[in-house]
């Protein structure tokens, strides 16, 4: 007989192993590939160093410049809000820290649960706003692909089920906790093969940009 508890144990056991293996293999394939392909050798004489500007750009590109903000204030503000909310819920909620500690041995202090639940609620609203914006904005709608909607749905499912589990709004609880873990596992599995890879490649790409600028001696 298969009930909610068996489902939860499946997501915590065999399914977790599968997801983490696909994630680790997939991500390292992608990143190793990127690094090994590298760049064409540049024979021009470097005008300045690469490392400084590389790191600087990792930071400066993270904060939108005033022009971008004026052109797309919604993208900047809502994008920031939900990214930060997601990261806070992911990294500062005690059960998540316990999980990370069990895998890596690393741990840090958690935020009180009410703070996390507030942050999560805000994140949910922001995520819905991004979907509405994507579907109503004339340009965004046309450039959106199936993958964009898939990635949105997976991220939203992870946050929504987490929120439902926290408030214990679905009975029995093992069912909703299992759904939350399963959606997080689907996200892990999709991560190396969709734009979700940006979680790991954004800063590498920014460094590359900055380093190239640095070499050419332009502002980074």
């Amino acid at each position: 007989m298969s009930g909610s508890m068996e489902f939860l144990l499946w997501t915590k056991g065999p399914m977790f192993d599968i997801a983490i293996a696909i994630f680790a293999i997939g991500l390292l394939v992608r990143i190793t590939e990127i690094f090994m392909l590298g760049r064409k050798k540049n024979f021009a004489e470097a005008r300045a160093g690469e490392w400084g500007p590389g790191f600087r750009t990792m930071f400066t590109r993270t904060v939108a410049d005033p022009g971008t903000f004026q052109r797309a204030p919604f993208n900047v503000v809502v994008g920031w809000v939900w990214h930060i909310g997601f990261l806070m819920a992911l990294l500062l909620f005690l059960p998540h820290i316990a999980l990370i500690e069990s895998l890596t041995g690393l741990s840090w202090p958690a935020l009180p649960n009410p703070v996390i639940s507030l942050v999560t609620s805000v994140t949910l609203v922001a995520l819905i706003a991004t979907l509405v914006h994507r579907m109503t904005h004339p340009v965004k709608r046309r450039i959106s692909t199936v993958e964009d909607y898939l990635v949105w749905a997976v991220v939203f499912a992870v946050v929504l089920t987490g929120w439902l589990a926290y408030y214990r709004l679905v009975n029995p609880y093992p069912l909703v906790l299992g759904m939350h873990i399963l959606s997080a596992e689907i996200m892990l599995i999709l991560l190396p093969f969709t734009k979700l890879t940006h979680i790991f490649t954004t800063f590498i790409a920014r460094w590359y940009n900055g380093a190239a600028f640095g070499r050419k001696g332009v502002q980074s």
Binding site: S4, K12, D17, A21, P174
Partner: protein
């Protein structure tokens, strides 16, 4: 206890004979009403029903078990009304409690079955080696557990599985389940099966289910695991008195730190209260003295299926049960090798393409049009 015919005495008469006062009896009825989530006004109705109820014949079968469930029931302090209720139900057969042995004991079981067809209750503790398992793994009087269970439930009114072994397989069914142990509900399909899980279950829950059956003449409302909603409808976590600390994010990190002394939440120490449905937090143990979380120990989740295989008792609920850091490391290493291979292949293809490049002229293209 030799083959005893269920007497015609009512429960009320038997209780009075045993010196239970009217007051004590009503107190028990009020407690029963409240634990079955009935309004207090129901207590007199329960009392009246129990007063008149005939003692049902009960056959108690013990299979692959540790006797903990029987201990829980019989050691529930000085004789309580609950004990007496059990005493005065006509417990016609119980391996551990009956005085008769051997043929006489088996005879008692057969007689109880023959005398009350369709009316007797069967209580089971312990798991059963399934029909495909070696029947010799566990036998009573030369009968395999499986054969005895199936024969006994044949004409029963209902089956009450007591303890996590009978309800879910429990310890005997834990990985790798050497005896092919199964639960009662895995095997009994044509009779109502009520699961009173727990390792062991709270004595009051066992007697509560029997009291409910006697009072209303039918079985209580059950959850998805056939457990009575009145006792298993709420999780430990939802009724835990430490819950305010969980909500505030105040957790004990070790068993002897400041947080532990201040009674903070035991989530980080492995408490399975959030995923466990049982009545410990409300009914408590040892005559309502205390319960595990109150004593400073995390809930083990003993009333849930597969609790022995659900990961370490001292790991938080969010910790996966099997993945080890080594798996992730191995997967990562495989990924690096694979990524290297993919990149090398891509480079090779690019080089080959450059080497074999065959420029096309405009004239050639035009000729093709």
């Amino acid at each position: 206890m030799a083959a005893r015919k269920p007497t015609d005495k009512t429960l009320g008469e038997s209780l009075r004979e045993r010196g239970v006062s009217r007051r004590g009896f009503l107190k028990f009825c009020a407690a029963t009403a409240s634990m079955m989530a009935l309004p207090p006004s129901m207590a007199p109705a329960i009392a009246a029903a129990l007063e008149k109820a005939k003692r049902p014949s009960v056959i108690w079968l013990s299979f692959q078990e540790c006797t903990g469930c029987t201990e829980s029931l019989t050691r529930s302090h000085a004789p309580t009304v609950e004990d007496l209720i059990l005493d005065v139900i006509s417990l016609d057969y119980h391996h551990t409690l009956q005085a008769a042995a051997g043929d006489a004991a088996e005879h008692a079981r057969e007689q109880a079955m023959a005398a009350n067809p369709g009316e007797y209750l069967v209580i089971v503790d312990g798991s059963i080696p399934g029909p495909d398992a070696n029947p010799g793994f566990s036998t009573v009087a030369g009968h395999s557990n499986y054969a005895m269970l199936m024969e006994t439930v044949e004409n029963a009114a209902a089956v009450i599985a007591v303890g996590s072994c009978a309800t879910f397989g429990g310890l005997p069914a834990a990985n790798p389940n050497p005896t092919g142990a199964m639960s009662v509900m895995d095997l009994v399909k044509n009779k109502p099966v009520i699961n009173v899980s727990g390792c062991p279950p709270i004595p009051m829950v066992i007697t509560g289910v029997i009291a409910h059956y006697l009072t209303f003449g039918r079985l209580p409302e059950l959850d998805a695991y056939n457990r009575p909603m009145a006792f298993f409808g709420q999780s430990i976590h939802d009724r835990c008195y430490r819950r305010p600390f969980y909500d505030k994010g105040l957790f004990a990190k070790t068993f002897d730190d400041e947080g532990a002394r201040l009674g903070w939440c035991l989530y980080e120490l492995g408490c399975k209260g959030p995923t466990t449905y049982n009545a410990c937090a409300t009914m408590r143990w040892n005559d309502g003295t205390s319960w595990p979380v109150e004593a400073g120990h995390p809930c083990l989740g003993c009333s849930e299926p597969k609790f022995w295989d659900a990961g370490g008792f001292y790991n938080a609920v969010s910790v996966p049960t099997s993945a080890s850091g080594m798996n992730v490391l191995a997967a990562g290493a495989a990924g690096v090798v694979l990524g290297g291979a993919v990149a090398a292949l891509a480079k090779k293809q690019t080089k080959a393409a450059v080497a074999h490049r065959q420029p096309v002229t405009v004239e050639e293209l035009e000729a093709k049009l």
